[in-house]
């Protein structure tokens, strides 16, 4: 159990960093909408259309690190499984 929690914590950190890098390394806040600029040919005006898109930011990384820290922390409070004494069989 101890090991499982630490593995999950490690995977959480690696996964969160990989996702953050893959989505463009946004160093601002997490976004759930991104603006898309469109130009109206007749007037030359630049319009903004908001599109649904999840872009993780530094708060996302922080939350993942905190979660991983909590999991790793819990693992330290789990006692080691006592070793079972070996039962030797007489031949």
């Amino acid at each position: 159990m101890k090991r499982i929690l630490r593995v999950i914590a490690g995977l959480l950190i690696v996964g969160a960093i990989a996702f953050w890098v893959a989505t463009g390394e946004n160093r601002g806040w997490t976004k759930t909408h991104v603006p898309k600029k469109t130009v109206d040919e007749t007037t030359g005006l630049e319009g903004i259309q908001w599109q649904d898109k999840f872009v993780p930011g530094v708060d996302f990384l922080g939350a993942a690190l905190l979660g991983a820290g909590v999991l790793a922390g819990i693992s330290f409070f789990i006692p080691l499984k006592p070793k079972q004494p070996k039962i030797e069989t007489e031949q």
Partner: protein, 202 residues
């Protein structure tokens, strides 16, 4: 002789009709009209826009300085990329969108009008109302009159377009938006841009 007078009178009436001020409606069926806003903040600038724009402007192509009108922005249409920031912005702690559902600008006077072709620039003094506080401000605007261009934008409709562009700044403290507070997190100065087109069908 009578025929000549009649023709001259007709030309005169037609001329007056063409020179008459036109009313442009800024409710945009294409959803292009927008008002942008930007505030500096430590991690990244808060950049958003509003789409709920309406209002009317009376514009005379022969006399742009005589223009007048009112532009309305629905407070709830203000949009930010971060949902928590948006929720805070519209809450009673900041803009209180429920109590103050509209942000408006009503022009009073056009000054320093300069016209070149279909484009005019001017300093427009008017009343800006935000969060229930009204203040007189002067905004530099650019007006572009696009004659008979409505059909290019809205099929099967004849008429003219009026494009208005403006960039200006206000202070949130002037409009009772947490004056003197959170200035380390959100700047007092708000940069505003307006990019809108109005239609005058014939």
């Amino acid at each position: 002789m009578k025929t000549k007078i009649a023709i001259l009178a007709l030309i005169g009436v037609t001329g007056i009709a063409f020179a008459a001020p036109q009313t442009f409606d800024f409710k945009d069926p294409k959803g292009i009209n927008n008002a942008g806003f930007k505030l500096d903040a430590p991690l990244e600038a808060i950049n958003g826009s509003a789409s709920g724009i309406s209002g009317t402007v009376t514009f005379d192509p022969e006399n742009p300085g005589a223009s007048k009108g009112k532009i309305i922005v629905v407070t709830a249409s203000l949009m930010l990329p971060n949902p928590m920031q948006k929720q805070h912005m519209l809450s009673d702690k900041w803009l209180d969108a429920t109590k103050f559902p509209e942000i408006t600008f009503e022009s009073k006077e056009f000054k320093n009008v300069q016209t070149s072709g279909d484009t005019s620039t001017a300093d427009v003094t008017g009343t800006f109302t935000l969060k229930g506080v009204s203040k007189e401000i002067t905004v530099p605007v650019k007006l572009t009159y696009l004659k008979n261009k409505l059909g290019d934008r809205v099929p099967n409709q004849k008429g003219d377009l009026l494009v208005i562009r403006a960039s200006f700044t206000i202070k949130r403290s002037d409009f009772n938006i947490n004056p003197g507070q959170f200035e380390d997190k959100v700047s007092d100065t708000i940069e505003l841009t307006l990019s809108i087109a109005g239609a005058s069908p014939k």
